[in-house]
Symmetry: C2
């Protein structure tokens, strides 16, 4: 049995609490939040507190708090030589106070407040300063059915950046498609299966192999027509830049003649 | 029973043939290709031909051929007053020769050569010049379990453009994430569940509502760190443009002070 103390009451903290609470091999010993009100609904299931000095002994303390708070809160912990991990994609492992054994337990996924999370689809990036602390974090991920990867701080910060491309920027492309189709009174539902299939395709194929379309085949006629169709200059700039990017990746010479 | 003649032997033609062939309410009367060799494997299942003048009578003739060939091939058909449709996202309905009844049967999806297609996830954009031809195209989509939408030529061309954002450009963002993570020896598999979840999220939520991340919350510290991490100038340009785009959409003032 792994005993855990959760510190924080945001999205990640709450989803972790629910997953840990369901897992057979994990006990949530205690849940801390500065704002006790935000976790009071759970007081019949676990011990809740807003007082750091009343923290009980656990195998792992998980700081699921904002990036800026990690350093301060870790130094305020009234104990030492215990395993303290944060859940941030961008905070370094050394930002945790050195009086405790330090680690990272970063879930690489997007969490919505009111949607249940399937933790089999949440890969954890695990890092520890001391090798001996690695197995317990692996067991913690396995106990909630999550895949896990050993990832150092530099790799984790790179993943956090890659996630912005994959999540935020991709979502903005969906948004632009939504704007474009809305302007012609087209039901956005028509595009949803394509959104799914585009994501499905790269589960097996590399994005390089999965690429198709006018940019890759240098279909200048279609590209020209698309640019003409785009009424918003900002959309046009994005179309041009990403077309150029695809052509760069696939070695399409922009001086070659139109194919068809 | 709907009888169909397929003209063309590319990806779309082949996937359509397979779906039609499985459907109870559809008979593929004949399959035409200029290159008979490309469809010879199917000659035991349907009549194949490379001769336009030997085309039999069918309820619908489907031109699943390249955009540039639609006009020519439709004018070469040796009959008139029958229903002839093309499957292109960008060719106008009037590009079909006027001697026949004209329509469009455009599947809005990405097809891979060697992957089976689930036609329940392939929405068809349907257009006909004569109202009376609409029901049979609807029935054709329904017979293979596909959703269908009545879409005019301008809307269809807009969808074709929106699909470039959703499919080609999104896939290029995946590719950039792949490049970034490869450079730090990170297994791309870690990012695959996030790709899936990003697509899943907008099946229920609008892309506007689904947006999160440093650009939307104007987290200048993280944006600055990300730009510093990006070693490729081209990637940096894309990061900056899409960050700006998100901030435009969400009314984030670029002059406001850093929040956290």
């Amino acid at each position: 049995m792994i005993s855990v103390t959760i510190i924080g009451s945001g999205n990640v903290a709450t989803h972790l609490f629910k997953a840990f609470n369901k897992a057979n091999k994990i006990t949530v010993n205690q849940w801390f939040s500065r704002n006790l009100n935000s976790i009071k609904d759970y007081k019949s299931i676990t011990s809740i507190t807003d007082n750091l000095s009343s923290l009980k002994t656990s195998d792992i303390y998980i700081l699921a708090i904002s990036d800026d708070a990690v350093s301060t809160v870790s130094s305020e912990l009234p104990f030492s030589n215990r395993l303290v991990v944060h859940t941030s994609g961008s905070v370094g492992i050394h930002d945790l106070d050195r009086k405790n054994n330090r680690g990272v337990f970063y879930p690489l996924q997007t969490f919505s407040k009111n949607t249940d999370v399937d933790f089999s689809q949440v890969p954890f990036c695990i890092e520890t300063l001391d090798k001996k602390d690695l197995p317990i974090l692996k067991s913690l991920a396995e106990a909630i059915g999550s895949p896990h990867y050993k990832i150092n701080t530099e790799q984790r910060q790179t993943l956090h950046l890659a996630a912005v491309f994959i999540n935020n920027f991709t979502n903005q492309l969906y948004r632009i498609a939504h704007e474009i189709s809305d302007a012609k009174s087209i039901n956005f539902d028509i595009l949803k299966p394509l959104i799914q299939e585009t994501a499905n395709k790269v589960q097996e194929l590399s994005p390089y192999m999965a690429q198709t379309g006018p940019a890759k085949r240098n279909d200048k006629k279609t590209i020209k027509r698309h640019l003409k169709l785009l009424e918003n200059e900002h959309h046009r700039t994005i179309y041009e830049l990403l077309t150029k990017s695809i052509q760069k990746t696939h070695g399409v010479s922009r001086t070659s003649t139109t194919k068809k």
